[in-house]
């Protein structure tokens, strides 16, 4: 897997952190994810990872597990499915 810049990871993490602290961001992401990710300066190549809940890839990239949890919450992914995805290289 390519090494992703910490600056890029930070932008993703900032969005996930805000999912937790700012309900309005969470709700907007559900409706218009691309617009929200663009606002947070997240590179387009990461957009599918977030929208599709590609937990394995995001985790291996270095996104913190506590923040991935907030993403799962927004996407409606429950614990058993979460654990499956974060351990499955096809995610």
């Amino acid at each position: 897997m390519e090494t992703v810049s910490r600056n890029e990871i930070f932008k993703i993490e900032r969005l996930l952190r805000d999912f937790h602290l700012r309900p309005e961001i969470r709700e907007r992401f559900k409706k218009e994810p691309d617009a929200v990710m663009a606002e947070y300066g997240i590179d387009k190549r990461f957009w599918p990872l977030l929208k599709e809940g590609r937990l394995y890839t995001l985790y291996k990239m270095g996104v913190h597990q506590l923040l991935l949890y907030h993403l799962a919450h927004v996407l409606g992914i429950k614990r058993d499915e979460y654990v499956k995805r974060i351990n499955d290289p096809s995610f």
């Binding site: 937790h20 985790y59 506590l66 949890y69 979460y82 351990n87």
Partner: protein, 276 residues
């Protein structure tokens, strides 16, 4: 001179309130009764202030991640996600004079402690305070608090030995505080768990019981020999035992009375008391 009158430690697992019905009624009752026991001890002891030692969850200590932080403010209201947690939104009075004294003393002793006047205290501080000190009707925490936060989640984390040293220094600092004050300290968090990690839901009971046996026997040396890597191998949240170790330092390594251990709510939960 302030006097250390009590040490407490308790799990802060958010599921205990947020998803209470996830566990069977007996287990729930057992968890709640453990908090009740600690609440009783606290009420008997009547401290003037509680120093809480809890970690952040990559929420507040996010853009800047300090290893240790002391809140120097006058009040706090939270936690932000109290509705999800299903606890009241509490007002917390902060004992700012003691917080400032403690901070200055620790910095003077060579601990590089960060500080903030605009706290965000999450479930790690607020859930245990809810159970142990919450006036639920009035939405206030009954004792003034000095909140200490640690970095237990984002590597590199301080060694357990460093946490213990911090606790020893806190004890010295508190005892040199010029006013009469009865101080309790409360550690929150742990034991093994992997929230949002590849083994989310797994509890390492062997690890937890080993850690509790060190505590109960006063075996500081074995506990401090645990490396961050060893502890993280049991789960991404397990290093929250750092908070316990800091308070153990405040209690100068005395054996703790381990009240109970309950695996459940995706975590190995424990409760302990140190009497001075």
């Amino acid at each position: 001179m302030a006097r250390m009158v009590l040490g407490l430690a308790a799990t802060h697992a958010p599921g205990i309130t947020a998803r209470a019905e996830e566990e069977p009624p007996e287990k729930r009752a057992r968890v709640y009764s453990n908090y009740e026991k600690l609440r009783g001890v606290l009420e008997e002891t009547k401290p003037d202030v509680i120093v809480t030692v809890a970690n952040d969850h990559v929420t507040y200590m996010f853009e800047i991640i300090p290893q240790f932080l002391i809140v120097v403010a006058d009040e706090y209201e939270g936690p932000p996600d109290y509705e999800w947690l299903r606890i009241p939104k509490y007002k917390v009075r902060i004992h700012r004079r003691l917080a400032e004294y403690l901070l200055k003393s620790l910095v003077d002793k060579g601990f590089d402690v960060a500080f903030s006047s605009n706290p965000l205290l999450d479930h790690a501080t607020m859930n245990p305070l809810h159970f142990l000190a919450g006036d639920r009707e009035r939405g206030v925490i009954k004792y003034p608090v000095v909140p200490v936060l640690t970095n237990a989640f984002v590597k590199p984390v301080p060694s357990l030995a460093r946490g213990y040293q911090l606790g020893l220094a806190m004890r010295e600092a508190l005892e040199s505080y010029p006013e009469q004050l009865r101080v309790a300290v409360l550690a929150t968090g742990g034991l093994s768990h992997d929230p949002g990690g590849p083994r989310w839901g797994y509890v390492d009971e062997e690890f937890d019981k080993r850690f509790l046996s060190y505590l109960a026997s006063g075996d500081v040396r074995s506990a401090l020999a645990l490396t961050p890597d060893e502890v993280f191998a049991t789960g991404g949240g397990s290093y929250e035992i750092l908070n316990w170790v800091v308070v153990w330092g405040v209690m100068r390594g005395k054996p703790a009375e381990v009240v109970d251990y309950v695996p459940g709510y995706n975590i190995g939960s424990a409760w302990a008391v140190w009497r001075p």
